[in-house]
Symmetry: D3
Subunit: 136 residues, 6 copies
């Protein structure tokens, strides 16, 4: 299996609901350094998994929609805890959608699975991985 990974980041405010979160129930924030790994069993005609430049552009566009926001006020996350692992899944769905839409080029539709990792500090990170088609 081949893979290509790219890295970018975004910065948000949010708070969590539930006793388990302790002081993180207060409004606070995070920088998420995001790694997106694209996997496929064989390379395309150009000898690549995806074009790294195009992958970086696609990821930047997806993160720009989240960047510099208070996620507590985001209608799409209403009633949800926007935890690191939850956000990994949100970004997974959007990157998978971009691949299916051809935003990374026709050949990138052969990407089989992706893994999204969000680093929230030097001691904690979370990830979601799954198939690009029929994600579950």
């Amino acid at each position: 299996m081949y893979s290509v990974s790219v890295r970018d980041h975004f910065m948000i405010a949010h708070s969590f609901s539930g006793e388990v979160f302790g002081p993180a129930q207060r409004l606070h924030g995070a920088t998420y350094v995001v790694d997106v790994e694209f996997r496929r069993p064989s390379l395309d005609d150009d000898g690549i998994v995806v074009d790294i430049g195009r992958a970086l552009d696609t990821v930047r566009a997806i993160l720009a929609d989240l960047n510099f926001r208070n996620l507590d006020e985001a209608p799409e996350f209403k009633g949800r805890n926007t935890t690191t692992e939850f956000l990994a899944r949100v970004i997974f769905d959007r990157v998978a959608g971009a691949i299916r839409n051809g935003d990374l080029g026709d050949q990138a539709r052969a990407v089989q699975s992706i893994r999204i990792t969000l680093h929230e500090s030097h001691v904690a990170w979370a990830a979601f991985e799954g198939l690009v088609n029929a994600t579950s």
Copy 2:
């Protein structure tokens, strides 16, 4: 598949038995930076894999039992080479046990598999991964 990872470290002395180890047959030591990855197919009611704070506390307690020791004198490792990969398995067994015991909370019992990575330097690391139940 979702995952959450946390990082901590411990520092020990030990020596190895066997020609393959060359100068590492002498008493020496290591800092192990430890990454523990918890994996499960769906999030719990709070939207998490495990509580990161509780995960860090559990890992710290498990590493405290190894920290600042000469492993050559540890009765539990008698006759064994406490290599990086061996220690990854030791910590795996203890973290898996803690999950089964409910030390990370009831909901964390749904963690399916874990991966323990021990970084021994900037150029070498080792890992053990397996299922939390029926580890083999």
Copy 3:
């Protein structure tokens, strides 16, 4: 010159005032990974710059006061942009004060200068350094 450095982190929400900040004028947040470097020209009687455990405890206590907060509502920062470099100075003043107060032990009063670095992402960080006494 000798130095010892320790690392910890904190997570906050805030917003900035001023056109230069663009979208960062909106309420957002950050994880700051904090490095504190202690410098002195000679070691103490135990052969150390400062005790690393005590240094980690002191830094943790100082960061706990900032952690999981919305800095826009912090009375002590009213009317100020809590930029990365500004916060580096805030933490500098508090660590310098802790040294002068003897929180790191009597021998640590010989620490001459400190440097505080706040990493806000994998592509940006800021620092403040100065003398422990007569900071300016």
Copy 4:
């Protein structure tokens, strides 16, 4: 599953063929920081996956054959784009061959799969993983 990983690097010049590569069609170069992960289900008699020293030596020898070269003039890559993911596969084939040849010792023949990761910058990396025998 156990694993041991080692890191080394090599530096090459090359250019790419195909519009998708944009300015990378010009002769340029890269440092590749290479991680080689060796995996097997159980440890050998010495309690290891592979000897880390021997693994580092084997990887260094394999990378030495690529290091400080212009890959555009390498006969073995004629007509191919030597992308990061392509080179990960090249190194995979050579490390797998070395294992099968016994270069890492007899016991290392039990290594089941390997993963080669090439970091080309702080924001992009690629990998190839597969079985040591019957690689496809």
Copy 5:
């Protein structure tokens, strides 16, 4: 002293002249991960050293001029070994010039000194630092 640092990278081909370089006399290449540190004794009216976004844009523009090139054919480096430390100085001169030209804004003219670090691998890096005005 306050500082702000930003990171970017570029990828080039080159060769060196002189026996000391051994196999690096052959045409090869490198990825340089570049850190640019801006230092000044006090913050500007917005509470910053320089605007991080603008700093990243300026550095990207300067590196774009070097990126994806064979430096052996660059007229401006004719007869010079484009070593890591030499390139750190080249970038220093260009960033210092950009500051003096006001490319980072009027307030950024108060930046006193800068430090350019080029990481060429996980085991080697080089830097040049100096004053923005009267560089020597």
Copy 6:
């Protein structure tokens, strides 16, 4: 000021004397990842600070003398706490001596100052820096 830095590591056992060290009074160990920074105001005739390959070889030879040892039994450290900062100084003295001896080549005698950093974990490191001649 120009600088070139190289990285290597060594692994030792030791214990500390003094209540301040708490559990580190027991025999334990550490991996030290060592960065050696060489500084000089101008480049040599080849356009370098020091030859990176030769610097790596020199540092490896110096660390080999400490590697895989129990420092409690090292006659040269009798009665001393071999703390991270103390060891940074030990290595400083040896690298400075190597420069003065011409081990890095005649032109490297122009190196003015060096800085030795020992990383003992992901959250703690220590350093010693000083002039190559007239070190104090």
